[in-house]
């Protein structure tokens, strides 16, 4: 007996060591449970990050667009007269965001916002010889835009250079038109404006729809073609916390008066799917945690019954109720902690095995699962805490044991 260790620790560790098989079994049980929780949490994080990375890396988190034009009837307002006016919706032409420089400045100053980039975009026709395709022409300031969508990483051929006469195309669009890097092509808009541009790069945006449609040109080029001299049709933003995008969008809308659409609203299906996954995963983790807690409680209840005679003797020899209570609470906490260590090892092993064994057909990992030390720390803490809570009922039972009954029994 070490003189630094109080009675409760000594007794708790002896009791746990005495019931070796029981302790080993419950430790393995807790370990498997904690391992499942760790693996599921890490897998969820990895999978989400993977989906979000794939989807959001090719688009902004929030897009600012000018408020829609609304036709307002000039007459009306006469008391007692109900008017059934037929209001024709105005044509939505490409318009600039009013005072966009000021808005960019304001939005850039928000702490939640990561990057801001103005864009002049509109529909255009891309032509190369006989072939023509309708495309979305996005005029961007490369320096700012690449912080939102890292085009250089998505380049499959050529480079992401956007000079005044350059154009970067989606891969499938280039195939449809039969152009390669270095070729020239003509791009024209509905108003009749047209320009001949040089293809500097081909990008793979991760979806065929985008690859068939998207073209990137320099902001000035797009402004000139679209008749938006000095103006932009939208402003793209990224935020630090992608799940807070909608809240940030609403704040920006209130702040600037322009319409702000977050990815959560424009990809509501995806967001709902991710959310549903989080809820399902959390529910499973919660119930696994509950099962662990009941396992610990069951083992300790049995232990209190088995040890009732010893509890009685300890009480007869001057042991207080508090001491007995603490001995069993400690056992619960120790079981939780040791179990979570076993679980961390199992969970870590599962994550490593996942990275090694589960692969795409091309041999690359399906998606990486991060080994987050915080996750291990949190589950150790949580398991210890639930061990403590689970031990409460048995510990209270032990502490309330009548010494006479305990000794006689």
């Amino acid at each position: 007996m070490n003189s630094l260790v109080p009675f409760e620790w000594i007794a708790a560790s002896r009791f746990l060591r005495e019931g070796r098989l029981q302790t080993a079994a419950i430790l393995l049980g807790i370990g498997i449970g904690v391992g499942v929780i760790i693996f599921m949490s890490a897998a969820l994080a990895g999978q989400q990050e993977n989906i979000v990375r794939r989807v959001l890396s090719a688009q902004a988190h929030i897009v600012l667009i000018p408020a829609q034009e609304i036709a307002r009837p000039l007459r009306g307002g006469q008391r007692g007269v109900a008017e059934a006016a037929i209001i024709q919706k105005p044509l939505q032409r490409v318009r600039s965001i009013d005072q966009w420089q000021r808005i960019i400045h304001e939005v850039d100053a928000l702490p939640e916002v990561n990057a801001v980039s103005p864009m002049a975009s509109g529909a255009a026709i891309a032509q190369r010889g006989e072939a023509s395709r309708s495309v979305t022409m996005q005029g961007v300031d490369p320096e700012r835009y690449f912080r939102i969508v890292p085009l250089p990483e998505k380049i499959v051929s050529g480079q992401a250079r956007l000079g005044a006469e350059d154009i970067v195309l989606g891969l499938d669009l280039a195939n449809d038109l039969g152009v390669r890097v270095g070729d020239k092509m003509r791009i024209s808009v509905g108003s009749g404006q047209a320009a001949t541009l040089t293809v500097t790069g081909l990008v793979d945006l991760g979806s065929k729809g985008a690859n068939q449609r998207i073209t990137y040109v320099a902001l000035h080029t797009a402004q000139a073609l679209l008749g938006l001299i000095g103006g932009v049709s939208s402003v793209d933003l990224t935020v630090h916390d992608i799940y807070a995008a909608e809240t940030v969008a609403q704040r920006i809308q209130a702040l600037t008066g322009v319409e702000a659409d977050s990815w959560i609203r424009t990809n509501s299906q995806l967001y709902l799917a991710i959310n549903a996954q989080v809820i399902a995963n959390t529910t499973i983790r919660f119930f696994v945690g509950l099962a662990i807690a009941f396992g610990i409680a069951a083992v300790l209840i049995v232990s209190v019954v088995q040890k009732s005679k010893e509890i009685g003797i300890l009480r007869a020899m001057g042991g207080s109720r508090g001491q007995i209570l603490r001995v069993f609470l400690l056992q619960g906490a120790v079981l939780g902690l040791l179990g979570s260590l076993v679980g961390s090892a199992l969970g870590g092993l599962a994550i490593v095995l996942w990275g090694v064994l589960v692969r795409n057909p091309d041999g690359t990992p399906l998606f990486p699962i991060p080994l987050d030390p915080q996750l291990f720390l949190a589950s150790a803490l949580l398991a210890t805490l639930s061990g403590l809570i689970a031990a409460f009922v048995p510990a209270l039972r032990g502490a309330r044991l009548d010494p006479v009954v305990a000794i006689r029994g």
Binding site: M1, N2, S3, L4, V5, P6, F7, I10, A11, R14, F15, R17, E18, K309, E310, G312, I313, L314, R315, A316, M317, G318, G319, S320, R321, Q323, P403, V404, I407
Partner: protein, 237 residues
């Protein structure tokens, strides 16, 4: 005369109080034990011996009457005070030794001191070693309690009961489970303790031969004391 270690006045105990099967097992017991007395408590099974012993040992509470231990009236004390009084004044030896199997002989002897002080210290250890030596078990001190014979375990239990230098040692058929030689050994040990440390001892026994070696024999039948006999020449000094 010195203040009695134990004083019972009209102590009653009923079980199943308030139910139709309420039964009184002790019907007004008066008993006083002087310091240094070695008293045997005898009686047939079901006479209330163990109940009386548990009440004196503060493991159980009487339903009527007054009980004083070492001059303190116990009726007003809460669980914490009772536990403390029990720890400091009373040592127990049970029929089934009741050592804690997960601990060694030495640790079992240290246990009452450990429970009181919270963590082990050198003084505790040396006292426990001295006590184990006095019961002749020094070489067994690091054996787990579960690896010792019945007689050895009971001697450890006596050493443990003496750890807190109790004024009173209560023994519930301490020899009931032992062969004759071991029984006499344990009994001699208790008599030695009684003689050298002036510890009052109350021992429940069915063995008349052992009882007659005591300084006083109290017999209880159906919850009442029927005889209370002091054996001349063996009174406490």
């Amino acid at each position: 005369m010195a203040e009695p270690v134990v004083q019972l006045e009209d102590v009653r105990k009923s079980y199943a109080v308030g139910t139709p099967v309420e039964t009184e097992v002790l019907h007004g017991v008066d008993l006083a034990l002087e310091p240094g007395e070695f008293c045997a408590l005898m009686g047939p099974s079901g006479s209330g011996k163990s109940t009386l012993l548990n009440i004196i040992g503060l493991l159980d509470r009487p339903t009527g009457g007054r009980l004083s231990i070492a001059g303190r009236l116990t009726s007003g004390l809460d669980d914490r005070a009772i536990t403390e009084l029990r720890g400091h004044t009373i040592g127990f030896v049970f029929q089934y030794h009741h050592l804690i199997p997960a601990f060694t002989a030495l640790e079992n002897v240290m246990m009452p001191m450990l429970l009181e002080r919270g963590r082990p210290d050198a003084e505790m250890r040396s006292r426990a070693e001295a006590l184990l030596a006095s019961v002749g078990l020094t070489q067994w001190r690091n054996n787990l309690a579960s690896n010792m014979s019945g007689g050895q375990q009971q001697r450890v239990a006596v050493a443990r009961a003496l750890a807190m230098k109790p004024a009173l040692l209560l023994a519930d058929e301490p020899t009931g489970n032992l062969d004759t030689a071991s029984a006499q050994g344990v009994f001699d040990l208790m008599r030695e303790v009684n003689r050298t440390q002036a510890t009052a001892i109350l021992i429940v026994t069915h063995n008349r031969g052992l009882a007659e070696q005591c300084s006083r024999i109290v017999e209880i039948v159906d919850g009442r004391i029927t005889t209370d006999q002091r054996i001349p020449g063996r009174s406490p000094n």
